[in-house]
């Protein structure tokens, strides 16, 4: 049985309502609700050996209603060499989820970076402030809310950039 099968069975036995899909690039995508995601990552870390947090980042999909924001975790089981992607959808009205800094120290700055660029807050984070941008910035620059080209220009529009 492959790693993916073992993992899928273990997760389905312990959690309900997870969406587990294998994408075209042979990576297992696990989508969890905001309520479950901390428990899920804790389970992956403590029981299934996903002890290496490869990456944590956000994304903004303004057209998907009530799940405009995503937080994407890439976890790696170094013993089995198994990489997975965990994803949680967050609504625009309350883009907030629990921090995983209690599980991975590395998540500290990655969560701050996600907050800095997307305005997603992580509940329980020890120092939820901006990291790369200046402190008095009053917008979240990576949100898809800004025209790519100067809006006063009539000769250029976003459709030239494939948007």
């Amino acid at each position: 049985m492959s790693n993916d099968h073992i993992l899928t069975e273990a997760l389905n036995a312990n959690f309900s309502g997870l969406e587990i899909i294998k994408d075209n690039y042979d990576c297992l995508n696990i989508t969890s609700s905001e309520h479950d995601v901390h428990g899920l990552i804790e389970f992956l870390l403590k029981d299934l050996g996903f002890a290496y947090l490869t990456d944590l980042t956000g994304a903004h999909y303004p057209n998907s209603e009530n799940s405009e924001f995503q937080v994407i975790y890439h976890l790696h089981n170094l013993q089995k060499n198994h990489r997975i992607r965990v994803r949680v959808h967050l609504p625009k009205s309350n883009p907030q989820t629990r921090t995983i800094t209690d599980l991975f120290l590395a998540a500290n700055w990655m969560e701050r970076e996600t907050y800095d660029f997307f305005g997603i807050t992580f509940e329980g984070h020890p120092n939820m402030v901006r990291i790369l941008n200046m402190d008095d910035m009053d917008y979240f620059p990576m949100r898809k809310e800004y025209a790519l080209e100067d809006e006063t220009r009539t000769d250029k529009s976003d459709r030239y950039f494939g948007r």
Binding site: N24, Y25, T54, H74, L78, W109, L132, F161, R163
Partner: protein, 406 residues
């Protein structure tokens, strides 16, 4: 109990610590000893560091946002400026991410050319880091000689792509040109001469009593803590974890080569130095093997709708002109999807998380920058250490401002 003595007790400082005032010291943002733009606000008691707080983002250039309006080909120059000590690895990592997204296999020759270029870049990166450790301990001589060797590597890059530092080498689907005979000849000269010069540098520092006394035990981190902090590359291996992307998830035919993964014990400055020294030797081994077994064949994949045709052909042939126009105008059939791809950069796992909506530009591109992630551990590593050890720890971690701030 005063605040100071409480702190001293926690840190287990020696009894002869001067029971004076705690001073706040601004190390940086521009300080000649930090080799880049880093600010650290230190609380010091005499020369002992009680706590440190980093400020990052001084050269933040919004690469991820820039990438959202640039066609795939035009993102390569952005990646140059991440870890600018080993730009070719960043360039090739990005090309391979896009190739993974569109699902193409490269010819063997492309893989081997890439391996040679990436290993040269790794040697250049490690040379800078290690010779700078020497400088920070007071040994300037090794630095000047090793920088001469780095210049030789840059001459090789110049022969491949015309640029030295920000190389912008290759393109999606392979390379714009093959290795020329001058390059092969220069590379052979380099492979002959470098080990001797490098041996001189190694004998200057590796078993040098003064250097060892200075670096052993400076800025240590345990394997467990290093994993919790998601360390990568030589810093993680120095702590004793044998994680190397080249061996764990071989890309670019790395499985064809015979090389070792050096591992340290204590994760201190000396171990990091030695791991990098050994990696330079392993990289040389890989280059030798790749050069001897360099396969014949094309230097790019046969994917006309993604691979920018050579300019001479664009002027001469209709097909090349059509594809050139389509690629530049963003009419390429990029599939929808999301991929994560990582290569072993100079500092460890350099990852690209790419989301494509089928448009001309990436929908979302995130760089997993190893520096940004492991620099978090810096205050913990220098707590209770001397100020001069803190400088040494930073240079041995090889924190590169461009990669840190993206």
């Amino acid at each position: 109990m005063s605040e100071l003595s409480k702190l001293n007790k926690n840190l287990d400082l020696s009894s002869e610590t001067i029971d004076g005032e705690i001073a706040t010291l601004n190390l940086g943002p521009t300080h000649p000893a930090t080799h880049g733009i880093f600010q650290n606000i230190l609380k010091v008691d005499g020369e002992r560091i009680l706590s440190a707080e980093q400020t990052v983002g001084y050269i933040h250039r919004a690469f991820e946002k820039l990438a959202e309006r640039r066609p795939y080909n035009q993102i390569t120059p952005i990646t140059d400026r991440l870890n600018y000590c080993s730009s070719p690895i960043n360039n090739i990592g990005w090309h391979m991410t896009v190739e993974k997204l569109i699902g193409v296999e490269m010819p063997k020759r492309v893989d081997y050319i890439r391996v040679i270029i990436m290993e040269l870049a790794r040697i250049a990166d490690h040379l800078v880091c290690n010779s700078v450790i020497g400088v920070d301990t007071g040994a300037l001589t090794g630095f000047t000689y090793m920088f001469q060797q780095r210049e030789k590597i840059y001459d090789l890059f110049e022969e491949i792509c015309g640029a030295r530092l920000t190389t912008n080498v290759g393109r999606i689907g392979g390379f714009d040109r093959d290795f020329n005979p001058e390059f092969i000849q220069k590379l052979r000269v380099f492979l002959n001469e470098f080990p001797k010069k490098f041996g001189e540098f190694a004998s200057l520092l590796e078993r040098n009593r003064i250097f060892m006394d200075r670096t052993i035990g400076a800025g240590p981190i345990s394997a467990k803590r290093a994993l919790e902090y998601s360390f990568a590359g030589p810093n993680l291996r120095a702590a004793g974890v044998d994680y190397d992307v080249r061996a764990m998830n071989p890309y670019c035919s790395y499985q064809d080569f015979d090389f070792n993964i050096p591992v340290g014990n204590d994760g201190d400055t000396y171990d990091r130095f030695i791991v990098r020294q050994q990696e330079i030797r392993e990289s040389l081994k890989i280059i030798h093997q790749a050069l001897e077994n360099l396969p014949e064949g094309a230097y790019h994949a046969d994917i006309p709708s993604f691979y920018l045709p050579p300019k001479e052909e664009v002027y001469r042939s209709m097909e090349a002109l059509i594809y050139h126009f389509k690629i530049v105008m963003g009419e390429t059939p990029i599939p929808k999807g999301e991929v994560y791809f990582s290569v072993e950069g100079g500092n460890g796992e350099l990852g690209y998380y790419l989301v494509s909506d089928g448009g001309r530009t990436p929908y979302r591109l995130h760089f997993r920058r190893p520096c940004f992630i492991y620099y978090q551990a810096y205050p913990e590593m220098i707590k209770g250490a001397l100020l001069s050890d803190a400088i040494l720890t930073m240079s041995s971690m090889n924190v590169i401002a461009g990669e840190l701030d993206a």
